[in-house]
Assembly symmetry: C2
Homo-oligomer: 267 residues x 2
Amino acid sequence: MSELHKLEGKRPFSLTQLPTEGKLYHYDRDVAEEEFKALRKELREWQTRLYAEGKQKLLVVLQAMDAGGKDGTIRSVFQGVNPQGVRVHSFKVPSKEELDHDFLWRIHKVVPGKGMMGVFNRSHYEDVLVVRVHDIVPEAVWRPRYEQINQFEKLLHDTGTRILKFYLHISKKEQKARFQARLDDPSKHWKFSLEDVEKRKYWDDYMAAYEEMLEKTTTPWAPWYVIPSDQKWYRNLAISRVIMATIKEMNPLYPSAEGDFGDVVIE
Amino acid sequence: MSELHKLEGKRPFSLTQLPTEGKLYHYDRDVAEEEFKALRKELREWQTRLYAEGKQKLLVVLQAMDAGGKDGTIRSVFQGVNPQGVRVHSFKVPSKEELDHDFLWRIHKVVPGKGMMGVFNRSHYEDVLVVRVHDIVPEAVWRPRYEQINQFEKLLHDTGTRILKFYLHISKKEQKARFQARLDDPSKHWKFSLEDVEKRKYWDDYMAAYEEMLEKTTTPWAPWYVIPSDQKWYRNLAISRVIMATIKEMNPLYPSAEGDFGDVVIE
């Protein structure tokens, strides 16, 4: 189940052929929500083991169009996880200092350490997406980044980091509905920006950029999952399934004591 | 209620006169746990407002003897808070690079940004505690730190950070019971270290160091709370009360929209 939405190999494909409707995969929302809640509880327990073991690292990368559900995923999936063991990084427009370095510099600084789960809300992938669509750097600069990303992720993988990358796939229609909901509800106005509406005009360009990115950066050591995300309840379930299956595979163990405590007397 | 355990002024006092028993303040554990759960739920909502507003910052500092409950407090009190808006930092023995700088350098790097809650599991206060008790630096170095800390915290306060400092106060007897529990239960061995038992021999020296530290660094802009922590359920409640009262006082507001969206049409 957890591998349902995993991309295989590096063959070209069309994003429009991949469904955005989770309900195609799961017909019963109530059942899905029950399973999701159980998984979330399980995640809390296994994250404690990962942290206690203090050896392995897990990195979760979230990419999506605006209103695609990145914030909601973090809030829902990681709710209840001990904040001591998880660290979320949201990558915004780079600062002057960040731009003075290579594009992976600011990313590398904040990858998870031993025992930690890191969650990236946007990531280095923006450097082959927004940067490409809006011609912020020339193709001669962004095209080599696919391979640079792959090698960077290989380094992380080879040094003890499991990497999971999720593209939250929503339809253009669903994005419109979510923008409209933000407009209609004054308490959601703060989430709305005219810039988002502006970017929406480049929808097809973004899809093309995502497609090539997914194709070029699908690797055995850092797989992409294209998650049907029009229904939030399905998105949460699908992502939780992948994360839980992965942590179980990592199988973190409570460490044994350092040395023999048989003789220890506490005064 | 929330100000019950707040230290007032800079007068000398004896830590042994301050109770470690929460049940002296609250006779009914079930009632306390109900209130705590309600506060935790409220914290989740108000943290969302703090994050959405994106202006103010909240820093929570936790100090305690070994087995005093710092990890447990983080797990319990912040469970359910959106990890996107809270960042926990655990300060360990400083690295070579950190020691090459002043003692506040590594702290300053990770203070919370706008809209964030930062939680420090140990902190710059170790630099007037462990460092003093074990003669790691001479008094001529650590003594000026009280004032350096006060001025540093004043900078944070004056630039938009609310600071809450908690000393989790446990008795020597309770520490023994917790160490023994870790020894007796193999699944808890990983939490146990012989170094902790070694440090326990310096209990009185630590109490003296804590006492002076609490006295010297109690300021109007960064108050200390001495939380009776022998009963975990009371500790959780007392800390939650202070945090919630503080956030309500900060009164973060959902920002209004940038500009007027009356004419916006989403294509």
